[in-house]
Symmetry: C2
Subunit: 678 residues, 2 copies
């Protein structure tokens, strides 16, 4: 299976686009800024296995501050390798070499490789799989080692990692001397499938499959749930629990309340949940492609789609964010999607939407349906992209849809748990792999184009070079120019995504003969005859006029949000400086005219399309029966959600504004006069 | 201070009214049904201090199943004594005598009196004030002993309880050999103030004042928060916590995150919070009336009103319920008031609204403002009364505003934590004390009428007998006939509440001379000249037409609820049998005609006013842009919320229906076609 983290090397971004601009920022600024954070926080030399003062800090139970350091470095290496492939940088290269030396030297005789359990708690390996991220860190080391090998073409990192994987493989399994456990934070599963794809290691495949199959077994070890068993072994009182566990034994937090195939809904920590499903999708796909044994593959497939559908239909914000609840960084009940922390929660973690992109990309391999690419694009341009400032140096962890006095619209340089920033780097580094997928069987070539931008892909089919270039000003305009080079006798089919919001409207030029193109599951399919006759063609995707989004009424969010193409819009006080209450009192009305404006921001140089419309502010302490008293119509300026918090202001921002058709506004219990008579 | 649990003896309910019917049910059925539960669950003889098998059940940590048994019996005794005052019942009398014998025999040599720490964990007294309800149980024993003395006119129960209070008084306080602690579940404070009022015990007053003042002290014992200190003393790991604590050290659960006077908002377990504030109100009032020292009394008063206002304005359902969150049985953030558990939570515990009634009654003594009586009445007729079936034998603990498949609209015979059912009995037993308050200074008599029904109060003023009788069909009609007997030379002022929903409209007959009556803070004041001239007069309260309530828009509940007088209405599937989705898709429109119908239920004989109007059902999977497609108008029948779940049906019920002005209904992320064009 071709993972985007591998295939991205065959794509070159060309010309100026929103994506290429952002990639350049990450390449030029972000990778270095994150390295600086890694240095200044002490992470840099943790693989030297010396004692750091922070290791003495026992205030966080059970997860000490440094527990993820291994993964922070691994993710930085992975992202840096992706960008080195674009442009050589001696300092970055030198740092990677240093890290690799340190990691190699940190490996124990038997292959074990983990800072905490080597330095801080030696002798306690594998004693707390539920909380301690031991296998999670291993997973990120695996991913780093694959990226390292792909760039450096040597085994300096992958070789010790493979030794570590062999150790883990021996440790875990159904045997009497093995541990019947699995990681509290899934990640290693998808890393192991990548390792299998990269190296053919059946150890890796089987270990991942074991973790997925064993997960949630109520009688996994000595007749007990594994996490109960290991808790008893540690001697912990059953009522000791991390703050993320709302109640005792709420194992849904880490998706181990039941075997995966039996889980009816997606629950718990959203990053864990989607990393896990990404691995499930990989397992299903690899079992099909490589004919590896997967008992009950249909049951796995049903579970995967059931959990995806539950997530997308009932637990996803219209920005592509998932996870409303801060405490467990994850999903609330169906349709529980408040916009901000002062309305009940809005977590929408950056990593979680990146994980959704990874999962959507996997699902496109299982079933070419534009729905998955729509979600992938929604996440990319909204929940993911809003997490990084335009200068590439500050980030968000949670991506709320509405600010409040206690959670302003702002970003931060770093986090003690720093999973999100390097995840953004990894994603942008490998982004080319998400644009399209392609392949050939004999002379038959197919290219499925998922995302539009300025880019060119080059690959070989049956020994011949094929290239496809796209040029466009997406996401601001829907016009995409394609140029195909595919020497005969290759027969090339190209499928072009038509986003759901386009309502299927498009113009293909040259016009195909009637009946010669077909639209299937959101993809416009151009047959080999058309592509042979028209190596240059253009697609005009329709539906770029601004439109209103409103959440399902079961969310109790009676709001209107402006969107245009894949971009979701918000209002900010920097443009609407009269606002002092986070736009909680502002309402829109469907039907108000909306105008578009091409803008270039003076400070950042960012080019974008702003929208203008009219809104009304309900007087906060209105006493009118219908609650409709307003302080007058006023112009509202909307900017893309990703663009928020880049131009100063007071940190006031909102995505969904009150739907003006609404009549409510009374306080309750009733105070004199605030009554709507029949 | 005259507490309603004492003054109720001066009121007799007369004639048939909703309240008298319900009181009769409690008297004839409920008290016996609860006694049967007390027997069948093993509670009955717990004060005999024998081992019960349930004591071996350690599955609930830290609170074992039997921990509240002392209070269950105490509350039953209290309620039973109130009803014995109405009508003698030999069996109930005999049972109370048995209980008193057992309680007396259970007292330890030094006065200690608690089942758990005598039988199950002897030697561990006062080791876990946070969780173990030791002082809570003591508080209910105190309240029972006052009720017992008032009915039996002997000291058989109050005498051992006073001995126990003396022991507690010695144990707790600022001294070097004393415990600087306070109960995790407040209750004893209000009980101690009642004991002070009943007996003049300064020990009781000072102990209660100590508990209130010390609560939340961050450095209370040895420089530590008391609950941290006792936890360390027990040797518990700091991350061991009861399921009700969402995270470690979330002491706001029991209102001890800060001293009471410093708490900005009302937080945590709602019953605890309001019991606590009831005691604060008592302390302030008693300090004024009895001139007891209360340092910073103005600061206490500000805190009391700040927390009340926060509760009523931002954390109360329009049924008078408080507490949205099940986990800690308490308050969510401001304006977080979903209608049902499938929308984010709706706890609205029965005991909590009873506590609000107690607090409101106390506040009326501090400040005669109809607002407090409005809330008291709202709770009584809605959140409290809906908690008991018409036959008086089944109950609710939580009182949701909307049912769901997992939480149908139904009631249960009993609960392992059985605080609510006997609380309902206590309330109805002493209900006469909530109707009015009154007093005299010299020949000046004043009577403040808070609630209307059929009842007569008799008391003496300056040695002369005064009676006031009211007759009405409240809450169905607004006409109240009064007859005063107040012999000269008494000068009697009568104040009659005008509910906020009446919008101040009323007719007083005979008509007073212009300028001779005044309305102040929701009370119509009749001066002594008027009452002397018109010993019989009638008040017609206006505003009884059906009206719509809608929550504040910050709740994100865009709903309409029908109300009439103090009664909040709901829809049930038993009247609207087409409904299969808990009325989640049903919407109303302001302006639709509403008709009233006087009904007598065939099965129960209950007389009530039903409402009929028209609603529309949005097609659940609508694909229309505006989400307004409906399957046609249909008649809706509304019944009072208290009446729900008494006539069969499938347990489908809802209070707030969608506001039909609403335009939303799309799903998201967008699926083809579900888009509202600009």
């Amino acid at each position: 299976m071709a993972h985007p983290q591998v295939t991205f090397r065959e794509t070159v971004f060309k010309g100026k686009s929103l994506l290429s601009t952002r990639r350049e920022t990450v390449s030029r600024s972000t990778v270095r800024a994150q390295l600086e954070q890694i240095r200044s926080t002490g992470r840099y030399d943790c693989f030297k296995l010396k004692w750091h003062p922070i290791y003495d800090d026992k205030s966080m139970w059970p997860v000490p501050f440094h527990l993820f350091w291994d993964s922070d470095i691994a993710k930085w290496i992975e992202g840096a390798c992706y960008f080195l492939a674009d442009e050589y940088d001696a300092e970055i290269d030198g740092t990677i070499r240093e890290f690799v030396d340190m990691i190699r030297a940190a490996q124990q005789e038997d292959g074990y490789l983990n800072v905490h359990y080597t330095v801080v708690e030696p002798g306690k390996r594998w004693s707390n799989l539920r909380d301690m991220h031991e296998l999670y860190n291993a997973g990120h080391l695996i991913e780093a080692s694959i990226a390292h090998r792909d760039y450096y073409r040597n085994d300096l990192l992958i070789s010790p990692i493979q030794k570590y994987v062999s150790l883990i493989r021996k440790q875990f399994g159904p045997g009497p001397d093995q541990i019947q456990g699995y990681p509290g934070h899934p990640e290693i599963e998808l890393a192991l499938f990548r390792l299998y794809s990269a190296t053919g290691s059946t150890d890796a495949f089987e270990l991942a499959q074991y973790f997925l199959t064993e997960r949630g077994n109520p009688k996994g070890q000595d007749g007990k749930h594994y996490y109960d068993w290991e808790m008893e072994k540690r001697g912990d009182h059953p009522c000791m629990r991390p703050d993320a566990y709302p109640e005792n034994r709420t194992y849904w937090y880490c998706q181990s309340h039941a075997p995966i195939v039996e889980q009816p809904t997606i629950e718990g920590h959203s990053v864990r949940a989607v990393y896990l499903l990404t691995a499930v999708a990989d397992m299903i796909h690899l079992s099909q492609v490589h004919r590896r044994s997967l008992p009950d593959s249909e049951v796995w497939s049903q579970a995967l789609h059931r959990l995806w559908d539950n997530m997308v239909d009932k637990k996803m914000y219209l920005t592509g964010g998932i996870g409303a609840v801060k405490q467990w960084e994850g999903f609330g009940i169906d349709y529980f999607l408040p916009q901000g922390t002062d309305e009940g929660g809005c977590y929408a973690e950056t990593c979680a939407s990146i994980a959704v992109m990874m999962l959507a990309e996997r699902l496109l391999h299982l079933d070419l349906d534009g729905h998955y690419a729509d979600i992938m694009e929604l996440c990319l341009y909204n929940n993911v992209m809003t997490s990084m400032s335009l200068d590439g140096k500050t980030f968000t962890y949670a991506n709320q849809l509405a600010s409040s006095d206690t959670d302003k619209s702002e970003r931060h340089e770093w986090f003690w748990c720093a999973c999100c920033p390097p995840n953004v780097s990894r994603l942008f580094g490998s982004l080319g792999g998400y644009l399209w997928d392609y392949g050939s069987e004999g002379d038959n070539v197919s290219i499925n184009v998922h995302l539009y931008t300025g880019a060119k892909v080059s690959f070989s089919a049956n020994g011949a070079p094929v290239t496809l270039e796209q040029k466009s000003n997406w996401p601001w305009e829907g016009n995409v120019m394609f140029t195909l080079s595919s020497p005969s006798p290759l027969q090339t089919t190209i499928r072009l995504r038509l986003p759901a919001w386009s309502n299927g409207s498009y113009v293909l030029t040259p016009t195909p003969h009637p009946g010669k193109v077909e639209v299937k599951k959101g993809y416009l399919s151009l047959d080999p005859a058309y592509t042979a006759d028209n190596p240059s063609f253009s697609l005009q995707v329709g539906g770029f006029r601004p439109r209103y989004l409103s959440p399902h009424r079961y969310t109790n969010q009676r709001t209107l949000t402006l969107a245009r193409g894949p971009m979701v819009y918000c209002v900010e006080d920097v443009d609407n400086s009269w606002e002092k209450n986070h736009f909680k009192d502002t309402h829109l009305k469907v039907g108000s005219p909306v105008t578009e404006e091409n803008c270039t921001d003076e400070k950042t140089g960012e080019e974008y399309v702003a929208l203008r419309s009219v809104g009304w502010n309900i007087v906060p302490e209105t006493t009118s029966p219908a609650g409709e008293e307003t302080d007058g119509a006023r112009e509202l300026v909307f900017v893309p959600y990703y663009f928020r918090a880049n131009r100063g202001g007071e940190g006031q921002m909102r995505v969904g504004l009150l739907n003006g058709g609404d009549k409510s506004g009374n306080t309750f219990p009733e105070k004199g006069g605030r009554i709507a008579p029949v």
